[in-house]
């Protein structure tokens, strides 16, 4: 979706403000929101692409007004409400008002280290030959799906070069909507600064994105 989360090249946000000696979390609620989000994926059964879509699919003013962990909180509220694990009236009341739903499994403290260690690899065995090879010229499609996608707006319609072939990976555009992993070839595609930003080209700038095969066409 063409949402406020897709920020590459957007003007007006001002300078980057590094914070000296920044702590990992800035408030206790951030710690809790972070940990709840990681822990709830086990009983909730959602995947990372569903989580990302739950965070980004909201009015731009809302997305931009929220701090990072406020967006995570909004995401976990939506994911749990959609599955009726929690109801909106319960969050408003601050207490349980409805019976718990049965869940297959929860994340136990003893399993956390192993679960984190295992992570969630997204590469899958290749089932088709890759359409493109290193060096090929490709155009990022000018596409605007209302659903989740990982092709940023600032490269759409622009011509780049295949820099690397990364294997077949879970396709977020399908996986975010419960339509299966649908693995696709993943490429690192490089674009020159002059191609992307014709009005203000840096002659020595190159930008790469990781793009799934359905995002690309031969150029």
């Amino acid at each position: 979706m063409d949402g406020a989360h897709d920020m590459g090249g957007v003007a007006g946000f001002g300078p980057v403000r590094p914070e000296p000696d920044e702590p990992v979390f800035h408030a206790d609620w951030e710690r809790r929101a972070f940990a709840l989000t990681l822990a709830m994926a086990t009983p909730g059964g959602w995947n990372i692409d569903m989580s990302r879509f739950a965070r980004e699919n909201r009015p731009p003013a809302d997305y931009l007004a929220k701090s990072y962990y406020q967006i995570w909180l909004a995401g976990i509220e939506r994911l749990t409400e959609e599955r009726h694990l929690v109801e909106a009236d319960e969050i408003a009341a601050g207490k349980v008002l409805h019976p718990a739903q049965p869940v297959a499994k929860i994340l136990k403290a003893d399993d956390v280290t192993a679960v984190l260690r295992r992570g969630g690899p997204t590469e899958r065995a290749a089932t088709t030959p890759a359409l493109f090879a290193v060096g090929d010229r490709v155009r990022a499609k000018d596409m605007h799906p209302p659903t989740h996608t990982r092709l940023p707006r600032y490269v759409r319609g622009h011509i780049g070069r295949i820099e690397a072939v990364r294997g077949m990976h879970v396709f977020p555009d399908s996986n975010a909507h419960g339509e299966g992993e649908n693995p696709q070839w993943l490429y690192t595609v490089s674009f020159s600064g002059a191609e992307l930003w014709a009005d203000a080209p840096d002659p020595l700038l190159e930008v790469t994105v990781d793009a799934f095969e359905p995002y690309l066409e031969r150029a």
């Binding site: 590094p18 007004a65 929690v86 349980v96 992307l196 700038l205």
Partner: protein, 209 residues
Amino acid sequence: MTDHDHHHHHDHSDLSETELRVRALETILTEKGYIDPAALDVLIETYESKVGPRNGAQVVARAWTDPAFRARLLSDATPAIGELGYAGRQGEHIVAVENTPELHNMVVCTLCSCYPWPVLGLPPVWYKSAPYRAKAVKDPRGVLRDFGFELPPTTKIRVWDSTAEVRYFVVPMRPDGTDGWSEDRLADLVTRDSMIGTGLPKRPDEVTR
């Protein structure tokens, strides 16, 4: 007001309302049996005190001192990093990119906050913020100026936008004046920002031991 607010002038939201919602959610999820409260503590402790940029600094220091390791790291970073014991969530597919006198690398995630957790820990606020996500792919030299340094105008710059599940990690150039240094001593020079590409390693005269 917490310190957080001072650094986020765009954050107009009422934090006490947020605190209440988080507390409500945690209470409800726990009472319904979806959450093991002890698991939350382990998750927080892991990323607050165990997994952080010191991991990445050890990887860089090894690459600086061991040419065979450097070659493995640059050709297939995930198993090479695994040799030092670092692996897992948000680092399942890591690619290491090396700075040279001709090329400077910088890493961003314009769509959210993708970051190589096993080597760098959780990302800093600025990395997840709108200014960085917006500016890094268009004016990375301006970003470096925001961080207080100027890249030579003849140095090429490559910005890696982490739009899928590949996680990028920069191997900065080894500072001059460090011949014969041990891995541990070198690791003290490797800053988090130098592994994102928004900073440089410290010079030998900036550390005391």
